[in-house]
Homo-oligomer: 218 residues x 2
DNA sequence: GCATGATTCAAACGTTCGTTTGAATCATGC
DNA sequence: GCATGATTCAAACGAACGTTTGAATCATGC
């Protein structure tokens, strides 16, 4: 979580766990299998809880479209529960997960999608039902942005915000994060569609390029 | 960009660049200094362009609050320009940057904030001027979410979306990404404030925890 | 109490890493 | 054309990595 996969050695892990170095290869086979097992144990139940949450919402709705906020909650709230449950991995696992999605290592790029496939399909249907006027492509992109904001937040990437002369309070309190994250994401998903491709950026953008070039020349 | 800092060896880099391995330590001193130089060269001009863009907007506004969409554009459009300019690093640098923000390595967690300090202060002022009803803490969080969605998108994290039975078209076309990203972020920043802390999540959340526990027992 | 299979342990393996070294090569000013 | 400083190069260094090994230890059923 705090060092990334490649930079975390089995010697660090086994020392922290107070076990012998060879135990990892004996019980798991390899370092790669070890972290795969972590996801197997933690991510499966988390996504199952998300689907169960969505099932409950849809059962209550009797086919009517759900409020976007509720659908977003179905994704975010189970993560909150995990972060509160030390036996379920706690907040540490969420941080690991947030980082893992950006992890370039092949082991995770080939493993994670399998866990998310059903979640994405189900929630995409729910969103497209709740937002019938949003074209499929736009919805896919908005879900993409949503996952970005979520995983970034879960990864605890406070590197930038720390220095904005005002710390983020309640960064440890998952509920206060969700109270702010859900309205943000729901508003983004419900944003009005802009059919005109922002023509006005053309001129300003050219000036920007010049500013970049000038800086480089200096 | 595609392997992460720790997993990218100087031997790979020097082989790709068709130079001798020792050249890195001769010209840069160390691997860490090498990547620091990359940020020095690329990130400085990019953030300068963002500030210049904001300067231009504010000069035209004569003290009046700016539309949130325009402020977001000031952050996003210069990145588009960089992605189009192969000499400025191109899209590859943006992907590197998006990954770097999530990179746990200490070299970057201590280097990047310095480049972003002024950007964050200036844009926070602009946003709080445009959104006077949003408390400072909420605004800080919303900017945090915004950076998350942005860096995730810039990092090209398509691992999850690929399998949602509908590919993201135009993923290479930066302008079409921006056309969708700006409305999403602006809507999120302008989202109505929820003063009631979503009490209704209590019961549902408890059920969710049970679902997780049951899955674990199975 | 002893045989047996599972687990733990210290030690070593081969590989790869970032870095250093010292000689070879290049460029440049006189 | 030669001295000098900068750069390139092949080779090696020590350290750290994931993994393997074989003996020691533990647990368990008879």
């Amino acid at each position: 979580m705090e060092r990334g996969y490649a930079a975390t050695s089995l010697r660090m892990i086994t020392a922290k766990a107070r076990v012998n170095l060879a135990a990892v290869n004996y019980h798991f086979g390899s370092k790669e299998s070890l972290i795969r097992e972590v996801f197997e144990r933690r991510l499966g139940p988390l996504n199952a809880a998300r689907l169960a949450y969505l099932d409950r919402l849809e059962a209550h709705a009797h086919g009517r479209p759900l409020p976007v906020e509720r659908i977003v909650e179905a994704i975010v709230v189970p993560a909150l529960q995990v972060s509160r449950d030390p036996l379920g991995g706690g907040a540490v696992f969420l941080r690991l997960l947030g980082r893992a999605i950006s992890e370039p290592a092949s082991y995770v790029r080939e493993t994670l999608p399998a866990y998310y496939r059903e979640v994405i399909v189900r929630f995409k249907h729910a969103f497209s039902h709740a937002l019938p006027h949003v074209p499929e492509q736009d919805l896919a992109w908005r879900m993409h942005f949503m996952f970005g904001a979520m995983s970034y937040t879960m990864a605890g990437n406070d590197a930038l915000q720390l220095i904005g002369n005002c710390r983020l309070d309640g960064a440890d309190d998952a509920e206060s994060i969700i109270r702010r994250l859900v309205p943000f994401l729901a508003a983004g998903l419900k944003a009005p569609l802009t059919d005109s491709p922002a023509r006005r950026t053309g001129a300003a953008a050219r000036k920007t390029v010049n500013a970049v070039s000038n800086r480089k020349a200096a």
